[in-house]
Symmetry: C2
Subunit: 155 residues, 2 copies
């Protein structure tokens, strides 16, 4: 088990695109979208993963359990999910060993781009690149689980 | 992934108790009780397990995915579940390499005892011991996931 401390932002400009170090397509769905016990199935590149997340007490940190699973299992479990999210994850170096994960959504969530950073502690210093927009940490509409229920193009 | 073919019965008498080969206490809860995508956390003896089951098309067989997880993870995930089922699983030899799993429930489901057998195919011959009662295969009230929502003592 890990406790995940994550902050989430919109993007103010396309400046981050010049700094991309890696881009990976991700398909993911939810076996449970219940906020206190989400269960996510993900295919990322050639790997399958099952991830359970607990309730967020402060909007930033929550218990997380992740297990690799065979790709064929992930494909079959994705088929059990009511809808599947399609996005490209771009990595951008954030300095001090930190990394921005910038998710560019496709399909029903096209137009939405969100930058996330995982911090070593709740009060860790936050990098502030010029392209960073408004913080949306804790805004449930941006939870990936919620985006499968109410996609961005329907907001 | 495995396809599970399972038949479930009530018990007509206590005759099976003389044939028990092993008894193990099991605690389990559900991260999702959605019938088409249940997600079960189980502690069985000293082991933790995460199990995903798909929809049952015919009431007997359904896709099943099971992964061992660290005991400490299973304990923490069990704490995310809205309620926890407590039972003792007794094993009874059924001949031909088959085995009866007889679940004796405790707590809110005390008084309920159910025998299950996993068959190699839908039309495999069924053993018929004298202590076997009425078949309840496919009756959703007896699904363990449903017993966490509506326990036997409240029927």
């Amino acid at each position: 088990m890990a406790t995940e401390i994550e902050r989430k932002y919109l993007l103010a400009s396309d400046g981050w695109r010049a700094e991309i170090s890696q881009s990976t397509r991700i398909a993911q769905g939810y076996l449970s979208t219940e906020p206190g016990r989400t269960v996510r199935v993900r295919i990322k590149g050639a790997g399958g993963f099952l991830t359970i997340k607990g309730a967020s007490l402060d909007g930033m940190s929550r218990a997380e359990f992740e297990y690799p699973v065979p790709l064929s299992d992930a494909e079959a479990m994705l088929a059990l999910c009511p809808s599947v999210l399609d996005k490209t994850r771009h990595l951008v170096d954030a300095g001090n060993g930190l990394v921005w994960e910038i998710d560019e959504f496709h399909g029903e969530n096209a137009g939405l781009i969100v930058a996330e950073i995982e911090l070593p502690s709740v009060d860790a210093p936050m990098p502030q690149p010029g392209w960073l927009g408004a913080e949306v940490t804790g805004d449930k509409r941006y939870y990936n689980s919620q985006l499968t229920l109410k996609p961005y193009t329907q907001w």
